[in-house]
Structures are given as structure tokens and as C-alpha cells.
Symmetry: C2
């Protein structure tokens, strides 16, 4: 059995010791990271959360202690009493902060033995992720996981400090509640007291935070767990954490300003990176036109150019048809790729855009004295000159064209832009480019349902300037919704809400909700709005994604202590699991087959 620490008290963590402590008697505790034996001396690298510390057991000092030290294996947990000693110059280890000293041990307790761990304790393990997750408690010992979890703690703490000092109150909202307006699939929790009724785990505290504004709390925030029963992707988890915010008596710019202040503080304090604020504000339309995306990565250029006006009457029918029939012809000038890409590489680019439903991709490779292209023969010299001018083409460039309906043109070129950036190695991991995308359309047309739906949630306010179009042209109505985008990833978003009962009713009607549906789903919110509602708005960040990007990781599983895998299960605990028949009976639940 392991020994007890009874009577011992840890005096220092490993990395708290240095030259200043030489001569002191100290008690340190941690894991045996590595053992080396060298002619009658055992060296242990003792590891704790703060780092490594060398401990020396010399047989010349105590043979008994030396022999006990010889039994130490990796990951044994030790308590060591000893004296801090300065190392000889030739044995100094400049790689660790405690490299100038070591501990000459006078007492050793083996607090716990250890079998050989299934995951080696090292930076960036290449062990299979399923093994890492099954033995997560070992995986979390690895230095990069330790740093990441500490970073996550730090970012959440900075959020709380920042919002608190800006007058926000953290108010907890229920987890056992009702449907929320996001509309994704929900987890439900059967009620025992009221059989046949169910609680819903919230997808967000949306309704509650709006009610808190009705209550006059003025500024609310919460770092809060949310739930979605969706099929998992790399950046989705059944439970995830939001930094959730709501403010009263504000318009769009107030929300953006206070929230970019948090991001600036988080990057400064957690990463030492000074971000410039205000971040760019970019209307949705501009983002689509320039980058083909409502979450543009603006670390690099390769912007879209609209050539529809040049080619709408040209001889190349693919172009002229698209330009005339409500679609467009747009291009990206892939700088230098004409010279750099082989014919096979260009073909692979053409294949790439097909993933995004583009029927094809025309291109012109610009050379010093000629243009290589299959389409120039259909274009007049004026048209060609105009294209080269608009795309600022120079010798060596590759102009890539997509002609189609706009949604496909944007999507294909937006993705192509990212693909080109990857191939050209333009995506710097340590560069952080934020922007706000604003003025999203309030509605989007559902082609299948032949009806208009709310693009964000149905509480989003239209822009004051566009309220008049509510009765005439829904496609024209912009909203007070906004997203915050970092390096092409949406890390948060929100909106100013509708605070006027009548306007809210009108919106519900426009998106086809019946009075009954509205009253069932949002009745208590609408009722609340009758008693004096301040103008309000807010947003929510995905904490997991934000920390993932800050830590330079590519999966949110790497920033969650105990994440779930593809089928929503936890390889460590084996959750979800069967329950006792008694439990189901109490809930009046029976499982059906198939």
C-alpha cells in the first residue's frame, strides 16, 4: 500500500524553487517523471503542475534511501524532503526553470505506485485519440493538455473579471427548463413527479436573459453550459459552453464595443498579444461580395471580383447566362498561381470547387506575353482587357471564374479562396484577425417551403432604416444581428432584440408561426413584454471555439477536460449507459424496439 503524507506538509511546488532557496530544507510532492541511475546515485525528475525539479538520492549519503529510490518507476507519486543544492555548472539544465538547482533528498515516501500508463506523458502525443480519451486522466497530465486547460480557466476568469468590472451581473438560469428558440434537436429529461412531461436542457439561456432585462438587471452575463442533441462534427459537442451576454438600453454599436473590449483583454492577459480595436465592422453584403463568406478569414487577400457587368453580353454562354439570369460571374485572382501551379494542380482546383456545387471553373493563366485559357476565344479583347484590369492580373497570376446563381458563386469562390490560402501557406497560426460581420438579412427564403424564415432567431430586431420594407420586400430587410469572426471561424454572435410587443407579433406572423405556436413556445416571454420592456440586445461566444483558436488547437475536444466522441459517448465513463428497470418504471417509461 502507498504511504501516507501524515505529518508532512508540502512547502513548495516544483517550479517555485530556485537559487534563492539554496540551503533551505524543503518538502516537495509530485510524480516521478523520469528516473536515471548513475553510479550509486538515483536522479528523479519530479513533476507537478508547475514543472520539473531534479531530486538526487546518493547512496553515499544514505544507502537505505538510495535503495528505496531505486524502486521508483515512472508516474509513482512521491513526497520528498531534502535540501536545495546548487548544481555544478556542467550539470545545469537550461531547459527547465529549476535547472540550476536540485534537491538532495533526506526522506522519501512513495505515496502511490503506478502501473505503466497507456499514454506517455509528453508534448503533443501521437497516441490514438480514442485511447487518449479512454484514459483522459492520464492524457491530461501531458504538458500541452495542462497548458490548454489552464488557458481555458484563464480566459473564463478574464471574462468574469471584465464583465463584472463593466457592470454585468452573472445570473444563473435554469438547466431543467423548456424549449428554446434555436430549433436544434433538444435533450429531454423525463419528470418523475409529472409522468409524461419533460424538462428540456437549454440550447441557450436566450429567453431567460431577455426576461432578466425585463426585470431591470441592465447587464447580464453567464458562462453557461448549453446542450444540443445533434450529430457531432469536429467542432461540435452535445454539451458546450457559452459566454452569454445581454444588455439593456443599447444599440448595435454599444454591444460591439463592450464585447471587443473583452477579446482585447483576453488576448493581452492570456497570450500577451495586443489586438487593435475597434475591430473592423463589415456589413454582410460586403463580406459576401469580397470574400464569398459571412465569416471571412481576413488574414489574407484573394478577394472576389464581380465581373458580371463585363461579361453579361459576352460570347461565352455560361458567363452571359449566369450574369443575365439573376446570378453572377465572379473571379479570384490567385496571385502567382499561374506560374506556380502545374496543369494537374489547376485541374485539382477545378475538382475542388465542384464539392461546393459549382458546375465548373473557368480560368485564365496570365503569362508574360500570352493568356492560357479555354475561354478567351469566346471573349472580345475589350472584355479580356476589362477582366485583367478588374482582377489586377499580372504575369504569373491565375484568374479563377465561377458563373452560377449567387449562392453557389459565393460558396464555391469563398471555399476556393480558403483552399488557395492553404496551398499558398497564407494561414499563419499566430496571426489573429477579428472582424464583426453586421447587417445580416433578417429573413431568408426557404426554397423548399416557399416561405420566409428568420435567419437568426425570431427575436432579432430589424434595422430602423428597413422597418418600412416589412410590408413590401422582406428580402430587403436587414437586421441588427452581428457575428464576431476570428480567422474565418465564427466565435460568437448576437443581435439587438425586438422589445415591442406588437412588432414581435408581426414578425412571428411574417415567418408563419400561428398564434397557438407562438403562445405555446414563447407565451411567457410575450406576456412579460407587456409590463415594460427596455430595448435590449446581446450576444454569445462559444468559449470552446475561442479557447481552441487561442491555444492553436484544431478540435474543441482538445480544450474540454472530458469531451465526448462521435456517437456522443464518453470513452472514459462509458456514458450514456443502461439504467435500472426501477428507474424507468418510476418515470413511467418503456423502451420500444427499432
Amino acid at each position: 500500500m502507498g504511504e501516507s503524507i501524515y505529518g508532512l506538509k508540502r512547502t513548495h511546488k516544483c517550479s517555485e524553487l530556485g537559487l534563492a532557496n539554496v540551503g533551505e530544507s524543503v518538502t516537495v510532492m509530485g510524480w516521478a517523471h523520469k528516473r536515471r541511475d548513475l553510479g550509486g546515485v538515483v536522479f528523479i525528475d519530479l513533476r507537478d503542475r508547475t514543472g520539473l525539479l531534479q531530486v538526487v538520492f546518493n547512496s553515499a549519503v544514505s544507502n537505505e534511501l538510495f535503495q528505496k529510490a531505486e524502486t521508483i518507476r515512472n508516474e509513482y507519486v512521491l513526497a520528498i524532503v531534502g535540501e536545495v543544492v546548487k548544481r555544478d555548472p556542467e550539470t545545469v539544465n537550461p531547459k527547465i526553470p529549476t535547472g540550476e538547482i536540485e534537491i538532495a533528498a533526506t526522506e522519501l515516501r512513495i505515496l502511490s505506485k503506478a502501473e505503466t500508463p497507456p499514454v506517455y506523458i509528453e508534448e503533443d502525443s501521437d497516441v490514438n485519440e480514442n485511447v487518449r480519451l479512454k484514459y483522459r486522466y492520464i492524457d491530461l497530465r501531458r504538458p500541452d493538455m495542462q497548458r490548454t486547460i489552464m488557458l481555458r480557466h484563464r480566459v473564463a476568469k478574464i471574462a468574469r473579471d471584465y464583465y463584472d468590472s463593466n457592470g454585468f451581473l452573472e445570473i444563473e438560469t435554469p438547466m431543467l427548463t423548456k424549449s428554446t428558440p434555436e430549433g436544434a434537436r433538444e435533450y429531454i429529461v423525463p419528470s418523475r413527479v409529472q409522468p409524461g412531461k419533460f424538462f428540456v436542457l437549454p440550447q441557450s439561456p436566450q429567453l431567460f436573459k431577455q426576461l432578466l432585462m425585463v426585470s431591470g438587471f441592465d447587464r447580464y452575463f453567464q458562462v453557461v453550459r448549453c446542450f444540443r442533441d445533434e450529430d457531432l462534427r469536429a467542432d461540435r459537442q452535445p454539451e458546450f459552453t457559452q459566454i452569454d451576454i445581454e444588455m439593456s438600453f443599447v444599440d448595435v454599436e454599444d454591444v460591439l464595443t463592450v464585447n471587443e473590449g473583452f477579446i482585447k483583454k483576453a488576448f493581452k492577459e492570456a497570450l500577451g498579444i495586443e489586438l487593435e480595436t475597434p475591430f473592423i465592422r463589415m456589413p454582410y453584403k460586403e463580406a459576401m461580395d469580397r470574400f464569398g463568406s459571412d465569416k471571412p478569414d481576413i488574414r489574407f487577400g484573394l478577394e472576389l471580383v464581380d465581373l458580371s457587368h463585363i461579361v453579361e453580353n459576352c460570347g461565352f454562354k455560361v458567363f452571359s447566362d449566369a450574369a443575365k439570369n439573376g446570378g453572377s460571374v465572379r473571379a479570384i485572382n490567385a496571385k502567382g498561381c499561374g506560374a506556380k501551379f502545374s496543369r494537374r494542380e489547376i485541374d485539382s482546383v477545378v475538382e475542388f470547387v465542384k464539392i461546393y456545387k459549382a458546375k465548373g471553373m473557368a480560368w485564365i493563366a496570365v503569362e508574360e506575353n500570352e493568356l492560357k485559357s479555354a475561354i478567351t476565344k469566346f471573349l472580345s479583347q475589350d472584355e479580356i482587357d476589362a477582366i485583367l484590369k478588374e482582377t489586377k492580373a499580372e504575369p504569373g497570376d491565375l484568374i479563377c471564374f465561377i458563373a452560377d446563381k449567387n449562392s453557389i458563386v459565393y460558396d464555391a469562390l469563398g471555399q476556393l479562396r480558403l483552399e488557395l490560402a492553404r496551398r499558398l501557406d497564407l494561414l499563419k497560426k499566430d496571426e489573429f484577425k477579428f472582424l464583426w460581420v453586421t447587417e445580416f438579412p433578417l429573413f431568408e427564403y426557404d426554397e423548399e417551403e416557399k416561405s420566409w424564415a428568420a435567419k437568426h432567431h425570431p427575436f432579432t430586431s430589424p434595422m430602423d432604416e428597413d422597418i418600412e420594407y416589412l410590408d413590401s420586400d422582406l428580402g430587403k430587410v436587414r437586421s441588427k444581428a452581428y457575428d464576431i469572426v476570428l480567422n474565418g471561424v465564427e466565435i460568437g454572435g448576437g443581435s439587438i432584440r425586438i422589445h415591442i410587443h406588437e412588432l414581435q407579433q408581426k414578425l412571428f406572423k411574417l415567418i408563419g408561426l400561428t398564434e397557438e405556436q407562438v403562445s405555446e413556445r414563447f407565451g411567457f416571454l410575450l406576456e412579460a413584454f407587456k409590463y415594460g420592456t427596455p430595448p435590449h440586445g446581446g450576444m454569445a461566444y462559444g468559449l470552446d471555439r475561442l479557447v481552441m483558436l487561442m491555444a492553436g488547437k484544431s478540435s474543441i475536444r482538445d480544450v474540454i477536460a472530458f469531451p465526448k466522441v462521435q456517437n456522443s459517448s464518453c470513452p472514459m465513463t462509458n456514458a450514456p449507459d443502461t439504467v435500472e428497470a426501477k428507474q424507468l418504471k418510476e418515470l413511467h417509461i418503456k423502451m420500444t424496439n427499432g
Copy 2:
């Protein structure tokens, strides 16, 4: 429809204005708390989170504005532009911080109208709690609810500041997980991906926080939602919030010291109250013997006195039987109650103890020259003298005796002690007396099952001094468990855990768990313990209860923004509710009858 704030920007909150701002043009926004009309002038008390501010609409200045102001009703939401004006000395209102000024309005926007709210916005509403909870968003406007929710925010923030600055990392643990060791009834969440399997909502992060110690995070904390599907009492909710803590390489005293530091800081910063630390440490046995309770209220005396040794051979059979047969005879000297209580009041005390299964209560009323009692005739003068001496009885006192088996004696006298304190008005709301109760028994004997069970959870470590009794006398084994008690309420507790695999196995066996049960419930924890486990321990506070006591409230519903009522439902949202048949079908669930 309400007006928009478009183009306006709030410059101040109500209570931010004072004499220093006289002459400034300001924009304020909030609720119309009250309107008074006085000869061509409308006065509005404008309310926001910070307090009240008087706004004046003078018909002599603008008749149009005056007329609009006359339409304002209570709880309308307003935006007001105006000038800060010093009030005439005779109209100064010393009751509010802004009482020396008022706003001479030059612009008024009615942002939202309001129907008459069902709960009046005032201190300590006497409206029926069900109405308050149905209209919680209105109820939360009341000043005492606003203060309480702000206090809760402050206490949670202080916890995070304190634990962070003491090296604790806040690490989020899963909500969709497996059974935890507390053993209360759990909420379960059906899995769609794996029909027939269920997640469990955690009763605590117990297993995860211990795993985080295995991972080497050294100090963990979390302010975390926990769940119990139990029948509700005044101080229970289906979901509640814990301040949850775990530390490595520590023994009992380390945990107590760091945690009472938090309490001290919270009372200082949130309430301005300076608590003396260290708090008293009182072994369980002492708490029971002196107060008849493992959560004694030490704001007052009325301690228990063990008289068994005096009466074990006395002529009063009830006493001598109890003292001889493993029970005891104990008394409380109810100071002054002999003189103060009528015979009827004494009888009601006798009735009171019967609630706690005492068969009766003997008593002696001590008068200047005689003793009034039905039992003195059975006692010798020596016995009576000894009783009076041990209970420090003086004329006017009432000595209350319970003779029974110990569990009943403790419970009845412990409760009697509290009842006497209530009757004697000894419970001061603004007095805060903390103590740690330590050295709880590790096991308790289950009379029905005729077996030993863990008194706390089965990971609790025995005291080093008592490990030897594990093989001989389980009743004698004290544990490293501790509770923190405030004014007779347990607000938290915890223990040093067992970190030795073999000792843990032994404990499981002693409490009758089969290997299969252990492996199914805690398999992954025991597996983890094989790879090097530090000695560790921790605790958890009930945040709701702590804030309730700090706020001087008597129900935790008053410190939770959106609480649930007796049948676990939410009167505001109507959760739990029915769900669509489609949802149940996706989960392969059918409801049964009855």
C-alpha cells in the same frame, strides 16, 4: 408601438448623478416607478438597477412634453434627455442618493408601455409566492430581489477571485454523464444515438474532480450546477449550485484553512463583516455531546449536560433504565424559563420533544426555595444536588431531561435547544457563527439492513490513527470528513479521500459492495488510481444556502433567479411540459400508464 432609442445614447445610470452634474445635459433610461402631477408639472421617479431619480416635466417649459408625460403610467420604460438641476432646499429628498437633484426634461421617449403589473414593485412583497414566481420577471424588479441576486453574483465572483488567486483552476466537468456516488435519485437523459441508454445529470462532480487530481491539476474548483430528483423541501431544489473544490497533497487542516479564507473574504467584501478565523474545529462527538447536533448553532448556549452517571442507580426507573441500557439521561438548563414559562408553555415544550420520538420529557422548575417537579420524589437529595450542580441551575431555571437511547436523546434535546432559542429570541439574524465539525464516524450501522454503511461517500479516508480498527471495531473508526456549519445550517462539507487502491477496495468490501457493483459504478476511478494518485481531498459548499443566510432570507427560492416549486415545476415557463410525439419516437420511448 413603443419608440426606438435610435440616435440616443444613455449617458448615466440613475444613481450616478448628483450635485457634481448640475448643469449637464444627460440622457437617462429606466422604468417609471411613480408619477405625481402637481399644478402643471409632472414628476416621474425614474428607476433603474442603481436606484431612483426624479424627472420633471413642466408645462411652462413645454406643453407638448408635459402632455406626453401625463400619459406615463407605472412601469412604462422611458428615455429622457434633460438637464441636471439642483433642487430647492425644501424639496430635497434625503431618502434617496439622488435626492438633491432632479432632471428638467427636454425630450421624452416612451420606449415601451406597461400594463399594471401583478406584483407591486416594493420591498418585501406580501404577494402570494405562486404569483410572484409566475411573474418572476416582475418580482425580480423588487429592490430586495435585486439586492439578493446582486449579492449572489458578488459571492460567486469573490469565490472565483479567491480560489483563482490561491492557485485553483476552474475546470468544467460534464453534465451529461454517469451515476455519481451520492446515491440520491437521479435525473436521466435518454440518448437518441444509443437507444435504451441514458445520460445521468450529476449530483456532484465528485468522480471528475478526483480524476483531475489524478491528472495533476493540483487544485480544482468549480461553481457548478448539480441535480437531484428528490421531493422538494424549503431548502432543496431539483437543480442547485455548488462551489466545488479539490486539492492534492493535503490533509484535513490544509483544506479547512484555505476554505475558511474564502468565507472570511466573502463576508468582508460582500457584507462588510469581519469574521474571526480560524473557525472553531469541533469533533463530531463533542458537537453531539454539547449540542445534540452535528450542525450546532453556536450563537447561544443551552448546552446539553450528561447526567447518566448521576442517575444510573436512582429510583426513577425511566432514568436508571436509560442510563444502564446503553442510552443516556441528558438535560438542558433552560435559563430563566422556570420563571418565564407558564405551566401550559412547559406542557407545549413536552409536546414539542415528542415530535422527535422522545417518549416524554421530565423537568424541574427551580424556584427560590423549592423545586417544582414530578420526578424529584424519586430522587435522593444527593442526586438532586448533583443534578443542580452539573446543570448550574439557579432559581428561575427550568431543567429539561430526556432519557432514552442516545440517538433520540441527542435529536430531541438538540431540537429542544433550538426551540428554546426561538422562544427566548436568542437567534440574531445579523450574527454569523461558523464552525467546522470534524472527525465524523466513517461508518454508520444500518439497523434495518444489519450492516455497516459509509456515513459520507465511500471515498472518504479513515483517520490515520483509526486505520487499525478497520479490522476490529468499525464503530470506532473516525473519518477525515468535515462539515462547515453556519448558525446551525450545514453549508458545506467534504473529506480527505482514499488515494490508495488497496485501501479503497477494502472499504468497498466493508460496506458490502460486490466487486461487480464497484466496477460498474466506479470502475474508471479505480482504474485511474492504478496510475499514480496523489493524496487529495476537498469539499463543496451549497452556494444557494450560503447566499440565503448572507441575505437573511429563509428560503433558497429567494436567492435563485428562476426557482422551481414543490412539484418541481416552474410556474413561469410551465416546465416540465409535454413534448412532441416525434421526439419520443426518435428516442424509442413510450409512456406507460399508471
